[in-house]
Protein backbone atom coordinates (compact mmCIF):
# COMPACT_ATOMS: atom_id res chain seq x y z
CA UNK A 1 0.00 0.00 0.00
CA UNK A 2 2.71 2.43 1.06
CA UNK A 3 4.90 1.29 -1.84
CA UNK A 4 2.17 2.01 -4.42
CA UNK A 5 1.51 5.37 -2.81
CA UNK A 6 5.20 6.29 -2.99
CA UNK A 7 5.47 5.19 -6.66
CA UNK A 8 2.32 7.18 -7.43
CA UNK A 9 3.80 10.30 -5.86
CA UNK A 10 7.12 9.77 -7.69
CA UNK A 11 5.28 9.35 -11.01
CA UNK A 12 3.36 12.56 -10.43
CA UNK A 13 6.56 14.41 -9.53
CA UNK A 14 8.41 13.12 -12.62
CA UNK A 15 5.48 13.97 -14.86
CA UNK A 16 5.24 17.44 -13.35
CA UNK A 17 8.96 18.07 -13.88
CA UNK A 18 8.65 16.89 -17.50
CA UNK A 19 5.76 19.28 -18.07
CA UNK A 20 7.72 22.16 -16.54
CA UNK A 21 10.77 21.34 -18.69
CA UNK A 22 8.64 21.15 -21.85
CA UNK A 23 7.04 24.50 -21.02
CA UNK A 24 10.45 26.05 -20.40
CA UNK A 25 11.81 24.71 -23.72
CA UNK A 26 8.75 25.98 -25.58
CA UNK A 27 9.12 29.41 -23.99
CA UNK A 28 12.73 29.46 -25.22
CA UNK A 29 11.52 28.61 -28.74
CA UNK A 30 8.89 31.36 -28.59
CA UNK A 31 11.52 33.85 -27.45
CA UNK A 32 13.52 33.14 -30.58
CA UNK A 33 10.58 32.72 -32.96
CA UNK A 34 7.48 34.52 -31.58
CA UNK A 35 5.35 33.47 -34.56
CA UNK A 36 5.99 29.73 -34.23
CA UNK A 37 2.47 28.27 -34.31
CA UNK A 38 3.54 24.70 -33.35
CA UNK A 39 5.24 25.94 -30.20
CA UNK A 40 2.35 28.19 -29.16
CA UNK A 41 -0.23 25.43 -29.69
CA UNK A 42 1.85 22.94 -27.73
CA UNK A 43 2.33 25.46 -24.92
CA UNK A 44 -1.43 25.93 -24.67
CA UNK A 45 -1.91 22.13 -24.67
CA UNK A 46 0.75 21.58 -22.00
CA UNK A 47 -0.72 24.42 -19.93
CA UNK A 48 -3.96 22.44 -19.61
CA UNK A 49 -2.17 19.54 -17.92
Amino acid sequence: MIKTLITWFINIAVNHSNLVKAGYLLSQVLEKQPGNSDASELLIGIGRF
Binding site: N18, A22, L25
Partner: protein, 154 residues
Protein backbone atom coordinates in the same frame (compact mmCIF):
# COMPACT_ATOMS: atom_id res chain seq x y z
CA UNK B 1 28.53 8.74 -57.26
CA UNK B 2 29.12 9.03 -61.00
CA UNK B 3 28.69 12.80 -60.92
CA UNK B 4 31.33 13.10 -58.18
CA UNK B 5 33.76 10.91 -60.14
CA UNK B 6 33.10 13.04 -63.21
CA UNK B 7 33.81 16.17 -61.19
CA UNK B 8 37.13 14.74 -59.96
CA UNK B 9 38.08 13.77 -63.55
CA UNK B 10 37.24 17.28 -64.77
CA UNK B 11 39.38 18.80 -62.01
CA UNK B 12 42.30 16.58 -63.00
CA UNK B 13 41.88 17.45 -66.68
CA UNK B 14 41.69 21.20 -65.95
CA UNK B 15 44.78 21.01 -63.82
CA UNK B 16 46.69 19.13 -66.54
CA UNK B 17 45.60 21.66 -69.18
CA UNK B 18 46.71 24.59 -67.03
CA UNK B 19 50.04 22.95 -66.28
CA UNK B 20 50.61 22.58 -70.02
CA UNK B 21 49.60 26.23 -70.51
CA UNK B 22 52.07 27.31 -67.83
CA UNK B 23 54.82 25.23 -69.39
CA UNK B 24 54.19 26.68 -72.84
CA UNK B 25 53.97 30.28 -71.53
CA UNK B 26 56.60 30.71 -68.80
CA UNK B 27 56.47 34.53 -68.98
CA UNK B 28 52.97 34.70 -67.50
CA UNK B 29 53.11 35.16 -63.72
CA UNK B 30 50.12 34.56 -61.47
CA UNK B 31 49.66 36.80 -58.46
CA UNK B 32 48.50 34.25 -55.88
CA UNK B 33 49.34 30.55 -55.65
CA UNK B 34 46.01 28.73 -56.13
CA UNK B 35 44.97 25.24 -57.15
CA UNK B 36 45.95 25.88 -60.74
CA UNK B 37 48.81 28.33 -60.35
CA UNK B 38 50.67 26.96 -57.29
CA UNK B 39 53.23 24.20 -57.07
CA UNK B 40 52.44 20.52 -57.59
CA UNK B 41 52.47 19.84 -53.82
CA UNK B 42 49.92 22.55 -53.08
CA UNK B 43 47.78 21.30 -55.96
CA UNK B 44 47.89 17.76 -54.56
CA UNK B 45 46.96 19.00 -51.07
CA UNK B 46 44.05 21.05 -52.43
CA UNK B 47 42.94 18.10 -54.54
CA UNK B 48 42.99 15.77 -51.52
CA UNK B 49 40.99 18.28 -49.46
CA UNK B 50 38.43 18.57 -52.25
CA UNK B 51 38.14 14.79 -52.64
CA UNK B 52 37.67 14.35 -48.88
CA UNK B 53 34.98 17.05 -48.90
CA UNK B 54 33.21 15.30 -51.79
CA UNK B 55 33.32 11.97 -49.90
CA UNK B 56 31.96 13.68 -46.74
CA UNK B 57 29.15 15.28 -48.74
CA UNK B 58 28.29 11.91 -50.25
CA UNK B 59 28.14 10.35 -46.78
CA UNK B 60 25.88 13.18 -45.54
CA UNK B 61 23.50 12.65 -48.46
CA UNK B 62 23.51 8.90 -47.88
CA UNK B 63 22.64 9.25 -44.20
CA UNK B 64 19.86 11.75 -45.02
CA UNK B 65 18.43 9.31 -47.56
CA UNK B 66 18.52 6.47 -45.03
CA UNK B 67 16.74 8.68 -42.48
CA UNK B 68 14.04 9.62 -44.99
CA UNK B 69 13.43 5.95 -45.83
CA UNK B 70 13.31 5.16 -42.10
CA UNK B 71 10.74 7.93 -41.64
CA UNK B 72 8.55 6.41 -44.37
CA UNK B 73 8.92 2.93 -42.91
CA UNK B 74 8.11 4.24 -39.44
CA UNK B 75 4.95 5.93 -40.67
CA UNK B 76 3.81 2.59 -42.17
CA UNK B 77 4.89 0.70 -39.00
CA UNK B 78 7.51 -1.42 -40.78
CA UNK B 79 9.68 -1.67 -37.69
CA UNK B 80 12.31 -4.10 -39.01
CA UNK B 81 13.11 -2.10 -42.13
CA UNK B 82 12.95 1.13 -40.14
CA UNK B 83 15.48 -0.17 -37.60
CA UNK B 84 17.77 -1.38 -40.37
CA UNK B 85 17.75 2.00 -42.12
CA UNK B 86 18.35 3.89 -38.89
CA UNK B 87 21.23 1.52 -38.12
CA UNK B 88 22.74 2.26 -41.53
CA UNK B 89 22.36 6.02 -40.97
CA UNK B 90 23.93 5.87 -37.51
CA UNK B 91 26.79 3.74 -38.90
CA UNK B 92 27.79 6.58 -41.24
CA UNK B 93 28.03 8.92 -38.18
CA UNK B 94 27.71 12.17 -40.12
CA UNK B 95 24.26 13.20 -38.85
CA UNK B 96 23.90 11.80 -35.32
CA UNK B 97 21.46 14.56 -34.37
CA UNK B 98 19.17 13.58 -37.26
CA UNK B 99 19.31 9.95 -36.15
CA UNK B 100 18.29 10.84 -32.59
CA UNK B 101 15.50 13.09 -33.84
CA UNK B 102 14.20 10.35 -36.12
CA UNK B 103 14.36 7.77 -33.32
CA UNK B 104 12.45 10.15 -31.03
CA UNK B 105 9.69 10.75 -33.60
CA UNK B 106 9.35 7.06 -34.43
CA UNK B 107 9.20 6.09 -30.73
CA UNK B 108 6.59 8.81 -30.23
CA UNK B 109 4.50 7.45 -33.12
CA UNK B 110 4.77 3.96 -31.61
CA UNK B 111 3.62 5.49 -28.26
CA UNK B 112 6.86 4.50 -26.50
CA UNK B 113 7.15 7.81 -24.73
CA UNK B 114 9.91 6.95 -22.24
CA UNK B 115 12.31 5.91 -25.01
CA UNK B 116 11.25 8.89 -27.12
CA UNK B 117 12.01 11.25 -24.23
CA UNK B 118 15.48 9.74 -23.76
CA UNK B 119 16.26 10.15 -27.47
CA UNK B 120 14.99 13.74 -27.43
CA UNK B 121 17.23 14.45 -24.40
CA UNK B 122 20.23 13.10 -26.31
CA UNK B 123 19.19 15.23 -29.30
CA UNK B 124 19.10 18.31 -27.04
CA UNK B 125 22.76 17.73 -26.19
CA UNK B 126 23.71 17.09 -29.83
CA UNK B 127 21.88 20.09 -31.34
CA UNK B 128 24.30 22.76 -32.53
CA UNK B 129 22.48 25.29 -34.72
CA UNK B 130 19.47 27.36 -33.65
CA UNK B 131 17.10 25.55 -36.04
CA UNK B 132 18.18 22.15 -34.72
CA UNK B 133 17.61 23.30 -31.13
CA UNK B 134 14.14 24.60 -32.00
CA UNK B 135 13.21 21.34 -33.78
CA UNK B 136 14.33 19.11 -30.91
CA UNK B 137 12.64 21.32 -28.27
CA UNK B 138 9.34 21.15 -30.14
CA UNK B 139 9.66 17.35 -30.47
CA UNK B 140 10.37 17.03 -26.73
CA UNK B 141 7.32 19.13 -25.87
CA UNK B 142 5.22 17.12 -28.34
CA UNK B 143 6.27 13.85 -26.66
CA UNK B 144 5.36 15.15 -23.19
CA UNK B 145 2.05 16.50 -24.50
CA UNK B 146 1.12 13.18 -26.15
CA UNK B 147 2.13 11.23 -23.05
CA UNK B 148 -0.17 13.33 -20.87
CA UNK B 149 -2.92 13.38 -23.48
CA UNK B 150 -2.99 9.56 -23.62
CA UNK B 151 -2.61 9.23 -19.81
CA UNK B 152 0.53 7.09 -20.09
CA UNK B 153 2.42 7.06 -16.78
CA UNK B 154 5.64 5.13 -16.17
Amino acid sequence: MHSHLLRICLLLRDWQLLCRFKASNPNIRFKQPTFYTGSINSAIVIMLIRISLIILRMACRKSKAYLQIADHNGSFTRTNRCGKNIGNASGIKTDLFGVKLELATISQQASKYLQAKLYADEGLHLAKTANEQIAVKIIFACIIHDQNFNHVVY
